[in-house]
Amino acid sequence: MSDKHLSPLLLLMQLSDSALPVGGFSFSNTLESAVEYGIVDSEESLMEFSKALLQQSATTDGVAALNAHRAARKGDYQSIIRCDKALYARKINAEQRLMSQRMGRKLAELCANISGSTLLRRYCDDTSAAHTYAVVQGVVFAEYGLAEDELFASLCYGTASMVLNAALRCMRITHLQTQRILFSLAPHIAPLYREIAELDIDNMHSFSLQIDALSALHEKSAKRLFMN
Protein backbone atom coordinates (compact mmCIF):
# COMPACT_ATOMS: atom_id res chain seq x y z
CA MET A 1 0.00 0.00 0.00
CA SER A 2 1.34 3.43 -0.92
CA ASP A 3 1.70 6.44 1.37
CA LYS A 4 -1.01 8.10 -0.69
CA HIS A 5 -3.54 5.57 0.54
CA LEU A 6 -2.04 4.75 3.90
CA SER A 7 -1.91 8.26 5.33
CA PRO A 8 -5.63 9.09 4.88
CA LEU A 9 -6.53 5.65 6.23
CA LEU A 10 -4.45 6.21 9.34
CA LEU A 11 -5.98 9.66 9.79
CA LEU A 12 -9.45 8.17 9.49
CA MET A 13 -8.57 5.57 12.12
CA GLN A 14 -7.18 8.21 14.44
CA LEU A 15 -10.26 10.44 14.17
CA SER A 16 -12.66 7.52 14.60
CA ASP A 17 -10.85 5.94 17.52
CA SER A 18 -12.99 5.83 20.66
CA ALA A 19 -9.80 6.72 22.57
CA LEU A 20 -9.60 10.09 20.78
CA PRO A 21 -9.40 12.51 23.72
CA VAL A 22 -12.63 14.43 23.13
CA GLY A 23 -14.48 13.15 26.19
CA GLY A 24 -16.77 10.60 24.56
CA PHE A 25 -16.33 8.20 27.47
CA SER A 26 -18.28 10.63 29.72
CA PHE A 27 -21.47 10.28 27.72
CA SER A 28 -23.89 7.39 27.21
CA ASN A 29 -26.07 9.11 24.57
CA THR A 30 -29.20 8.43 26.71
CA LEU A 31 -28.42 4.73 27.22
CA GLU A 32 -28.08 5.18 30.98
CA SER A 33 -31.74 6.23 31.25
CA ALA A 34 -32.82 3.49 28.84
CA VAL A 35 -31.17 0.91 31.10
CA GLU A 36 -32.56 2.51 34.27
CA TYR A 37 -36.12 2.31 32.96
CA GLY A 38 -35.74 -1.22 31.60
CA ILE A 39 -36.05 -0.18 27.95
CA VAL A 40 -32.66 -1.69 27.15
CA ASP A 41 -31.91 -4.91 29.03
CA SER A 42 -30.52 -7.36 26.47
CA GLU A 43 -28.34 -7.67 23.41
CA GLU A 44 -31.42 -7.47 21.19
CA SER A 45 -32.83 -4.34 22.79
CA LEU A 46 -29.37 -2.72 22.79
CA MET A 47 -29.12 -3.44 19.07
CA GLU A 48 -32.51 -1.80 18.44
CA PHE A 49 -31.63 1.17 20.61
CA SER A 50 -28.31 1.63 18.80
CA LYS A 51 -30.12 1.54 15.44
CA ALA A 52 -32.52 4.25 16.64
CA LEU A 53 -29.60 6.39 17.77
CA LEU A 54 -27.89 5.93 14.41
CA GLN A 55 -31.04 6.97 12.57
CA GLN A 56 -31.36 10.09 14.73
CA SER A 57 -27.70 10.93 14.35
CA ALA A 58 -27.72 10.45 10.57
CA THR A 59 -30.68 12.75 9.88
CA THR A 60 -29.42 15.54 12.11
CA ASP A 61 -25.65 15.37 12.81
CA GLY A 62 -24.97 13.57 9.54
CA VAL A 63 -26.67 16.26 7.46
CA ALA A 64 -24.88 19.05 9.34
CA ALA A 65 -21.51 17.30 9.06
CA LEU A 66 -21.78 16.77 5.30
CA ASN A 67 -22.89 20.35 4.69
CA ALA A 68 -20.08 21.69 6.88
CA HIS A 69 -17.62 19.46 5.01
CA ARG A 70 -18.74 20.91 1.66
CA ALA A 71 -18.54 24.45 3.03
CA ALA A 72 -15.04 23.84 4.41
CA ARG A 73 -13.86 22.38 1.10
CA LYS A 74 -14.89 25.68 -0.51
CA GLY A 75 -13.36 27.72 2.30
CA ASP A 76 -16.81 29.19 2.94
CA TYR A 77 -16.56 30.14 6.62
CA GLN A 78 -20.01 31.76 6.84
CA SER A 79 -21.67 28.56 5.65
CA ILE A 80 -19.76 26.58 8.28
CA ILE A 81 -21.10 28.92 10.97
CA ARG A 82 -24.59 28.65 9.51
CA CYS A 83 -24.40 24.84 9.78
CA ASP A 84 -23.11 25.18 13.33
CA LYS A 85 -25.90 27.50 14.47
CA ALA A 86 -28.56 25.47 12.69
CA LEU A 87 -27.47 22.23 14.33
CA TYR A 88 -27.22 23.88 17.75
CA ALA A 89 -30.78 25.25 17.40
CA ARG A 90 -31.99 21.73 16.53
CA LYS A 91 -30.36 20.09 19.54
CA ILE A 92 -33.56 20.39 21.53
CA ASN A 93 -32.44 18.36 24.52
CA ALA A 94 -30.07 20.11 26.92
CA GLU A 95 -27.82 17.13 27.59
CA GLN A 96 -27.52 16.20 23.92
CA ARG A 97 -26.51 19.81 23.31
CA LEU A 98 -23.99 19.64 26.12
CA MET A 99 -22.46 16.48 24.67
CA SER A 100 -22.22 17.93 21.19
CA GLN A 101 -20.61 21.17 22.34
CA ARG A 102 -18.14 19.67 24.81
CA MET A 103 -16.90 17.07 22.36
CA GLY A 104 -16.92 19.60 19.52
CA ARG A 105 -14.78 22.09 21.39
CA LYS A 106 -12.31 19.39 22.41
CA LEU A 107 -12.03 18.14 18.84
CA ALA A 108 -11.63 21.65 17.45
CA GLU A 109 -8.85 22.46 19.92
CA LEU A 110 -7.13 19.15 19.34
CA CYS A 111 -7.13 19.35 15.56
CA ALA A 112 -6.35 23.07 15.40
CA ASN A 113 -3.25 22.33 17.47
CA ILE A 114 -2.00 19.34 15.54
CA SER A 115 -2.91 20.28 11.98
CA GLY A 116 -1.86 23.90 11.50
CA SER A 117 -5.02 24.58 9.47
CA THR A 118 -5.86 28.29 9.44
CA LEU A 119 -9.55 27.56 8.87
CA LEU A 120 -9.66 25.27 11.89
CA ARG A 121 -7.75 27.79 13.99
CA ARG A 122 -10.18 30.55 13.02
CA TYR A 123 -13.18 28.34 13.80
CA CYS A 124 -11.66 27.16 17.07
CA ASP A 125 -10.99 30.73 18.21
CA ASP A 126 -14.42 32.03 17.19
CA THR A 127 -16.14 32.57 20.55
CA SER A 128 -19.51 33.14 18.87
CA ALA A 129 -19.47 29.65 17.30
CA ALA A 130 -21.39 26.80 18.94
CA HIS A 131 -18.72 24.22 17.98
CA THR A 132 -21.18 21.39 17.59
CA TYR A 133 -19.35 18.09 17.29
CA ALA A 134 -20.73 17.06 13.90
CA VAL A 135 -19.87 20.40 12.30
CA VAL A 136 -16.36 20.33 13.78
CA GLN A 137 -15.98 16.82 12.39
CA GLY A 138 -17.08 18.08 8.98
CA VAL A 139 -14.49 20.85 9.00
CA VAL A 140 -11.72 18.59 10.31
CA PHE A 141 -12.34 15.90 7.71
CA ALA A 142 -12.41 18.48 4.93
CA GLU A 143 -9.16 20.05 6.12
CA TYR A 144 -7.51 16.64 6.29
CA GLY A 145 -8.69 15.80 2.77
CA LEU A 146 -10.93 12.96 3.88
CA ALA A 147 -14.04 12.22 1.83
CA GLU A 148 -17.71 12.76 2.71
CA ASP A 149 -18.53 9.07 2.94
CA GLU A 150 -15.55 8.56 5.25
CA LEU A 151 -16.84 11.40 7.41
CA PHE A 152 -20.29 9.83 7.57
CA ALA A 153 -18.89 6.39 8.38
CA SER A 154 -16.74 7.87 11.16
CA LEU A 155 -19.69 9.80 12.58
CA CYS A 156 -21.88 6.70 12.66
CA TYR A 157 -19.08 4.57 14.08
CA GLY A 158 -18.57 7.17 16.82
CA THR A 159 -22.28 7.14 17.71
CA ALA A 160 -22.39 3.35 17.87
CA SER A 161 -19.10 2.85 19.70
CA MET A 162 -20.01 5.48 22.29
CA VAL A 163 -23.27 3.78 23.25
CA LEU A 164 -21.75 0.30 23.15
CA ASN A 165 -18.81 1.30 25.30
CA ALA A 166 -21.24 2.88 27.75
CA ALA A 167 -23.28 -0.34 27.71
CA LEU A 168 -20.30 -2.26 29.04
CA ARG A 169 -20.31 0.01 32.08
CA CYS A 170 -24.03 0.31 32.81
CA MET A 171 -25.66 -3.03 31.93
CA ARG A 172 -24.96 -6.74 31.95
CA ILE A 173 -23.41 -7.33 28.56
CA THR A 174 -20.10 -8.74 27.34
CA HIS A 175 -17.47 -7.38 24.97
CA LEU A 176 -18.35 -10.19 22.60
CA GLN A 177 -21.98 -9.09 22.45
CA THR A 178 -21.19 -5.40 21.93
CA GLN A 179 -18.74 -6.26 19.14
CA ARG A 180 -21.38 -8.46 17.54
CA ILE A 181 -23.80 -5.51 17.61
CA LEU A 182 -21.19 -3.20 16.12
CA PHE A 183 -20.55 -5.70 13.35
CA SER A 184 -24.30 -6.10 12.70
CA LEU A 185 -24.86 -2.35 12.49
CA ALA A 186 -22.44 -1.87 9.61
CA PRO A 187 -24.88 -2.84 6.82
CA HIS A 188 -27.29 -0.16 8.03
CA ILE A 189 -24.86 2.69 7.44
CA ALA A 190 -24.82 2.82 3.64
CA PRO A 191 -28.65 3.12 3.31
CA LEU A 192 -28.59 5.91 5.88
CA TYR A 193 -25.93 7.70 3.87
CA ARG A 194 -28.00 7.43 0.70
CA GLU A 195 -31.02 8.76 2.61
CA ILE A 196 -29.34 11.93 3.83
CA ALA A 197 -26.45 12.66 1.44
CA GLU A 198 -28.39 15.20 -0.65
CA LEU A 199 -30.21 16.98 2.18
CA ASP A 200 -29.42 20.60 2.81
CA ILE A 201 -29.13 22.07 6.27
CA ASP A 202 -32.78 23.20 6.41
CA ASN A 203 -33.91 19.63 6.01
CA MET A 204 -32.32 18.18 9.10
CA HIS A 205 -35.06 16.23 10.83
CA SER A 206 -35.65 13.46 13.30
CA PHE A 207 -38.36 11.49 14.99
CA SER A 208 -36.97 9.89 18.11
CA LEU A 209 -39.40 10.82 20.84
CA GLN A 210 -38.49 8.05 23.26
CA ILE A 211 -34.82 8.97 22.99
CA ASP A 212 -35.72 12.65 23.50
CA ALA A 213 -37.74 11.72 26.58
CA LEU A 214 -34.95 9.55 27.98
CA SER A 215 -32.49 12.38 27.51
CA ALA A 216 -34.77 14.76 29.40
CA LEU A 217 -35.45 12.18 32.13
CA HIS A 218 -31.71 11.82 32.69
CA GLU A 219 -31.43 15.54 33.51
CA LYS A 220 -33.35 15.06 36.76
CA SER A 221 -32.24 11.53 37.47
CA ALA A 222 -30.63 10.76 40.85
CA LYS A 223 -28.48 7.99 39.34
CA ARG A 224 -25.94 9.54 36.99
CA LEU A 225 -22.80 7.71 36.00
CA PHE A 226 -22.69 9.52 32.64
CA MET A 227 -23.22 13.14 31.66
CA ASN A 228 -26.14 12.22 29.38
Binding site: A52, R90, I92, N93, A94, L209, I211, D212, A213
Partner: protein, 295 residues
Protein backbone atom coordinates in the same frame (compact mmCIF):
# COMPACT_ATOMS: atom_id res chain seq x y z
CA UNK B 1 -36.78 17.20 1.11
CA UNK B 2 -39.61 16.53 3.50
CA UNK B 3 -41.92 14.65 1.29
CA UNK B 4 -41.63 13.99 -2.42
CA UNK B 5 -45.42 14.25 -2.63
CA UNK B 6 -45.23 17.93 -1.77
CA UNK B 7 -44.73 18.57 -5.44
CA UNK B 8 -47.87 16.73 -6.37
CA UNK B 9 -50.40 19.25 -5.10
CA UNK B 10 -51.78 19.98 -8.54
CA UNK B 11 -52.42 16.35 -9.33
CA UNK B 12 -55.03 16.09 -6.62
CA UNK B 13 -58.48 15.07 -7.85
CA UNK B 14 -59.81 17.24 -5.05
CA UNK B 15 -57.97 20.27 -6.39
CA UNK B 16 -61.07 22.04 -7.68
CA UNK B 17 -62.80 21.94 -4.35
CA UNK B 18 -59.84 22.48 -2.05
CA UNK B 19 -60.13 24.96 0.76
CA UNK B 20 -57.86 27.84 1.63
CA UNK B 21 -58.91 28.68 5.17
CA UNK B 22 -57.35 31.79 6.68
CA UNK B 23 -57.50 33.23 10.12
CA UNK B 24 -55.96 36.36 11.50
CA UNK B 25 -56.43 37.08 15.18
CA UNK B 26 -54.85 40.09 16.83
CA UNK B 27 -55.06 40.68 20.58
CA UNK B 28 -54.29 44.07 22.13
CA UNK B 29 -54.95 46.01 25.31
CA UNK B 30 -57.82 48.49 25.01
CA UNK B 31 -57.83 51.99 26.53
CA UNK B 32 -58.92 50.52 29.87
CA UNK B 33 -56.08 48.02 29.90
CA UNK B 34 -58.29 45.04 29.08
CA UNK B 35 -57.08 42.45 26.59
CA UNK B 36 -59.39 42.25 23.59
CA UNK B 37 -59.36 40.67 20.14
CA UNK B 38 -58.85 43.86 18.11
CA UNK B 39 -58.19 42.23 14.72
CA UNK B 40 -60.30 39.42 13.49
CA UNK B 41 -60.22 38.19 9.91
CA UNK B 42 -61.44 34.80 8.80
CA UNK B 43 -61.98 32.93 5.60
CA UNK B 44 -64.20 29.82 5.46
CA UNK B 45 -64.15 27.11 6.51
CA UNK B 46 -62.31 28.51 9.52
CA UNK B 47 -64.58 30.14 12.04
CA UNK B 48 -63.83 32.18 15.10
CA UNK B 49 -66.56 33.86 17.05
CA UNK B 50 -66.04 36.92 19.17
CA UNK B 51 -63.72 36.40 22.11
CA UNK B 52 -65.45 35.25 25.27
CA UNK B 53 -64.46 35.84 28.87
CA UNK B 54 -65.52 32.53 30.39
CA UNK B 55 -62.41 31.60 32.36
CA UNK B 56 -63.65 31.23 35.95
CA UNK B 57 -60.21 31.80 37.44
CA UNK B 58 -59.10 34.68 35.23
CA UNK B 59 -62.16 36.64 34.17
CA UNK B 60 -60.24 39.22 32.11
CA UNK B 61 -58.78 36.52 29.84
CA UNK B 62 -60.15 36.57 26.27
CA UNK B 63 -60.78 32.98 25.17
CA UNK B 64 -61.18 31.96 21.56
CA UNK B 65 -62.03 28.62 19.99
CA UNK B 66 -61.01 27.99 16.41
CA UNK B 67 -63.61 25.97 14.53
CA UNK B 68 -63.69 24.51 11.04
CA UNK B 69 -67.08 24.18 9.39
CA UNK B 70 -65.74 21.96 6.63
CA UNK B 71 -65.23 18.85 8.72
CA UNK B 72 -61.86 17.18 8.44
CA UNK B 73 -58.90 18.61 6.60
CA UNK B 74 -59.19 17.16 3.09
CA UNK B 75 -56.71 16.57 0.32
CA UNK B 76 -55.49 19.88 -1.05
CA UNK B 77 -56.75 21.90 1.92
CA UNK B 78 -54.29 24.53 3.06
CA UNK B 79 -55.09 26.50 6.17
CA UNK B 80 -53.24 29.48 7.60
CA UNK B 81 -53.44 31.02 11.06
CA UNK B 82 -51.82 34.32 11.87
CA UNK B 83 -52.02 35.15 15.56
CA UNK B 84 -50.55 38.26 17.14
CA UNK B 85 -50.56 39.29 20.79
CA UNK B 86 -49.56 42.91 21.30
CA UNK B 87 -47.65 44.55 24.14
CA UNK B 88 -48.79 43.19 27.53
CA UNK B 89 -51.94 41.64 26.01
CA UNK B 90 -52.97 38.10 26.85
CA UNK B 91 -55.22 35.40 25.40
CA UNK B 92 -56.19 31.75 25.46
CA UNK B 93 -56.80 29.89 22.20
CA UNK B 94 -58.06 26.37 21.66
CA UNK B 95 -60.02 24.43 19.05
CA UNK B 96 -63.63 23.30 19.29
CA UNK B 97 -62.84 19.66 18.66
CA UNK B 98 -60.12 17.34 17.46
CA UNK B 99 -58.77 18.08 13.97
CA UNK B 100 -59.14 15.09 11.68
CA UNK B 101 -56.88 14.73 8.67
CA UNK B 102 -58.68 12.83 5.93
CA UNK B 103 -56.83 10.53 3.48
CA UNK B 104 -54.85 12.33 0.78
CA UNK B 105 -54.27 9.69 -1.93
CA UNK B 106 -52.53 11.97 -4.43
CA UNK B 107 -51.54 15.09 -2.61
CA UNK B 108 -51.45 16.47 0.92
CA UNK B 109 -53.09 18.94 3.28
CA UNK B 110 -51.38 21.57 5.38
CA UNK B 111 -51.56 24.07 8.21
CA UNK B 112 -49.27 27.07 8.42
CA UNK B 113 -49.29 29.01 11.67
CA UNK B 114 -47.53 32.23 12.51
CA UNK B 115 -47.65 33.31 16.14
CA UNK B 116 -46.17 36.63 17.15
CA UNK B 117 -45.87 37.83 20.73
CA UNK B 118 -44.76 41.38 21.51
CA UNK B 119 -43.23 42.73 24.73
CA UNK B 120 -44.84 41.35 27.88
CA UNK B 121 -47.46 39.40 25.91
CA UNK B 122 -48.90 36.12 27.20
CA UNK B 123 -50.58 33.43 25.11
CA UNK B 124 -51.87 29.97 25.94
CA UNK B 125 -52.40 27.92 22.79
CA UNK B 126 -53.83 24.57 23.75
CA UNK B 127 -55.76 22.97 20.89
CA UNK B 128 -57.49 19.60 20.89
CA UNK B 129 -55.52 16.71 19.30
CA UNK B 130 -54.88 16.17 15.61
CA UNK B 131 -55.93 12.77 14.26
CA UNK B 132 -54.16 11.65 11.08
CA UNK B 133 -56.35 9.05 9.38
CA UNK B 134 -55.23 6.20 7.14
CA UNK B 135 -53.22 7.26 4.04
CA UNK B 136 -52.89 10.88 5.15
CA UNK B 137 -50.08 13.19 4.19
CA UNK B 138 -49.90 16.39 6.17
CA UNK B 139 -47.51 19.29 6.52
CA UNK B 140 -47.68 21.62 9.53
CA UNK B 141 -45.46 24.64 9.97
CA UNK B 142 -45.37 26.73 13.14
CA UNK B 143 -43.39 29.95 12.97
CA UNK B 144 -43.06 31.71 16.31
CA UNK B 145 -41.73 35.23 16.69
CA UNK B 146 -41.41 36.15 20.35
CA UNK B 147 -40.11 39.09 22.33
CA UNK B 148 -37.66 38.18 25.14
CA UNK B 149 -40.15 39.45 27.76
CA UNK B 150 -43.19 37.55 26.42
CA UNK B 151 -44.49 34.12 27.42
CA UNK B 152 -45.96 31.51 25.11
CA UNK B 153 -47.44 28.18 26.09
CA UNK B 154 -47.87 26.25 22.86
CA UNK B 155 -49.04 22.64 22.79
CA UNK B 156 -49.84 20.19 20.05
CA UNK B 157 -50.97 16.59 20.24
CA UNK B 158 -50.97 13.91 17.55
CA UNK B 159 -52.87 10.66 17.90
CA UNK B 160 -51.92 7.47 16.06
CA UNK B 161 -55.14 7.50 14.03
CA UNK B 162 -58.77 6.51 14.57
CA UNK B 163 -58.35 3.49 16.79
CA UNK B 164 -62.04 2.58 16.40
CA UNK B 165 -61.30 1.89 12.72
CA UNK B 166 -58.15 -0.02 13.56
CA UNK B 167 -55.82 2.80 12.52
CA UNK B 168 -52.48 2.81 14.32
CA UNK B 169 -49.86 4.86 12.54
CA UNK B 170 -51.38 3.94 9.19
CA UNK B 171 -50.94 7.42 7.74
CA UNK B 172 -48.43 8.07 4.96
CA UNK B 173 -46.50 10.96 6.42
CA UNK B 174 -46.50 13.87 8.80
CA UNK B 175 -44.02 16.66 8.36
CA UNK B 176 -44.05 18.91 11.42
CA UNK B 177 -41.86 21.97 11.67
CA UNK B 178 -41.75 24.35 14.62
CA UNK B 179 -39.32 27.23 14.64
CA UNK B 180 -38.96 30.17 17.01
CA UNK B 181 -37.03 33.38 16.56
CA UNK B 182 -36.71 36.86 17.94
CA UNK B 183 -38.04 39.91 16.13
CA UNK B 184 -34.55 40.67 14.78
CA UNK B 185 -34.39 37.27 13.13
CA UNK B 186 -32.18 35.49 15.69
CA UNK B 187 -33.14 31.82 15.58
CA UNK B 188 -33.94 30.35 18.99
CA UNK B 189 -34.66 26.75 18.16
CA UNK B 190 -36.04 24.64 15.36
CA UNK B 191 -37.52 21.18 15.36
CA UNK B 192 -38.53 19.26 12.30
CA UNK B 193 -40.14 15.86 12.59
CA UNK B 194 -40.71 13.72 9.55
CA UNK B 195 -42.79 10.65 10.31
CA UNK B 196 -43.35 8.07 7.60
CA UNK B 197 -44.65 4.95 9.33
CA UNK B 198 -45.02 3.00 6.08
CA UNK B 199 -41.41 3.63 5.13
CA UNK B 200 -40.01 2.97 8.56
CA UNK B 201 -42.10 1.62 11.47
CA UNK B 202 -42.37 4.07 14.35
CA UNK B 203 -43.47 1.59 17.01
CA UNK B 204 -39.85 0.72 17.72
CA UNK B 205 -37.50 1.42 20.59
CA UNK B 206 -36.27 5.00 20.50
CA UNK B 207 -39.26 6.36 18.57
CA UNK B 208 -42.82 5.70 19.80
CA UNK B 209 -42.08 2.25 21.30
CA UNK B 210 -45.53 1.10 22.52
CA UNK B 211 -46.98 4.59 22.99
CA UNK B 212 -49.71 5.81 20.66
CA UNK B 213 -49.93 9.54 21.28
CA UNK B 214 -47.27 12.19 21.33
CA UNK B 215 -47.55 15.77 22.44
CA UNK B 216 -45.17 18.66 22.78
CA UNK B 217 -45.60 21.63 25.10
CA UNK B 218 -43.34 24.56 24.38
CA UNK B 219 -42.92 27.18 27.06
CA UNK B 220 -41.07 30.19 25.73
CA UNK B 221 -40.52 32.64 28.54
CA UNK B 222 -37.76 34.72 30.16
CA UNK B 223 -34.94 32.86 31.92
CA UNK B 224 -36.06 33.20 35.55
CA UNK B 225 -39.59 31.99 34.81
CA UNK B 226 -38.27 29.18 32.61
CA UNK B 227 -36.03 27.94 35.42
CA UNK B 228 -38.87 28.03 37.94
CA UNK B 229 -41.18 26.17 35.58
CA UNK B 230 -38.44 23.64 34.75
CA UNK B 231 -38.02 22.86 38.44
CA UNK B 232 -41.77 22.53 39.03
CA UNK B 233 -42.51 20.03 36.26
CA UNK B 234 -41.45 16.53 37.27
CA UNK B 235 -40.09 14.29 34.52
CA UNK B 236 -41.52 10.83 34.99
CA UNK B 237 -42.50 7.53 33.45
CA UNK B 238 -45.87 6.36 34.76
CA UNK B 239 -46.01 2.65 34.02
CA UNK B 240 -49.55 2.22 35.35
CA UNK B 241 -51.07 4.86 33.05
CA UNK B 242 -48.47 4.33 30.33
CA UNK B 243 -47.47 7.97 30.11
CA UNK B 244 -44.15 9.77 29.92
CA UNK B 245 -43.48 13.40 30.80
CA UNK B 246 -40.01 14.72 30.11
CA UNK B 247 -38.90 18.32 30.43
CA UNK B 248 -35.75 19.91 29.08
CA UNK B 249 -34.26 23.36 28.60
CA UNK B 250 -34.39 24.70 25.04
CA UNK B 251 -31.39 26.12 23.15
CA UNK B 252 -30.45 29.78 23.42
CA UNK B 253 -31.99 30.08 26.87
CA UNK B 254 -35.43 30.68 25.36
CA UNK B 255 -37.51 28.42 27.59
CA UNK B 256 -38.33 24.79 28.19
CA UNK B 257 -39.99 21.98 26.29
CA UNK B 258 -42.07 19.11 27.64
CA UNK B 259 -42.45 15.93 25.68
CA UNK B 260 -45.48 13.86 26.58
CA UNK B 261 -46.10 10.30 25.40
CA UNK B 262 -49.20 8.31 26.22
CA UNK B 263 -51.85 5.88 25.08
CA UNK B 264 -55.08 7.67 26.03
CA UNK B 265 -55.89 11.16 24.80
CA UNK B 266 -57.55 12.03 28.12
CA UNK B 267 -54.36 11.27 30.05
CA UNK B 268 -52.24 13.35 27.69
CA UNK B 269 -54.70 16.24 27.80
CA UNK B 270 -54.72 16.17 31.60
CA UNK B 271 -50.91 16.35 31.67
CA UNK B 272 -50.84 19.22 29.18
CA UNK B 273 -53.39 21.15 31.22
CA UNK B 274 -51.33 20.58 34.37
CA UNK B 275 -48.27 21.96 32.61
CA UNK B 276 -50.26 24.93 31.28
CA UNK B 277 -51.54 25.57 34.79
CA UNK B 278 -47.98 25.55 36.15
CA UNK B 279 -47.03 28.13 33.53
CA UNK B 280 -50.03 30.32 34.26
CA UNK B 281 -49.39 30.19 37.99
CA UNK B 282 -45.75 31.13 37.47
CA UNK B 283 -46.46 34.02 35.09
CA UNK B 284 -49.93 35.23 36.10
CA UNK B 285 -50.25 33.82 39.64
CA UNK B 286 -53.44 31.86 38.97
CA UNK B 287 -54.11 28.29 37.86
CA UNK B 288 -55.95 26.93 34.86
CA UNK B 289 -59.59 26.25 35.79
CA UNK B 290 -60.99 22.76 35.72
CA UNK B 291 -61.88 21.70 32.18
CA UNK B 292 -65.55 21.89 31.20
CA UNK B 293 -67.34 18.57 31.71
CA UNK B 294 -68.34 18.43 28.02
CA UNK B 295 -64.79 18.92 26.71
Amino acid sequence: MLMPNENRANTSPAHDSLKRGYLRLGFELDSEGRSIMRHWERRAPLIVQQELYFDRVWEELPCVYILSSGGPSLEGDHFRHHITVGDNAYAHISTGAATKLAPTPSSYSSLEQTIQLDAGAYLEYLPEPTIPCRNTRYVATNEIIIDPSATLFFAETYLCGRRYYGERFSYDSLSLLTRARRGDGEELFCEKMVIEPKQSPVTVVGQMADYEIFATALILTPHASAEAIYQQIPSRIDSANRTVVAVTRLPNDCGVMCRVLGCESGDVKTILREICSTVREQIKQRPLPKEFAWR
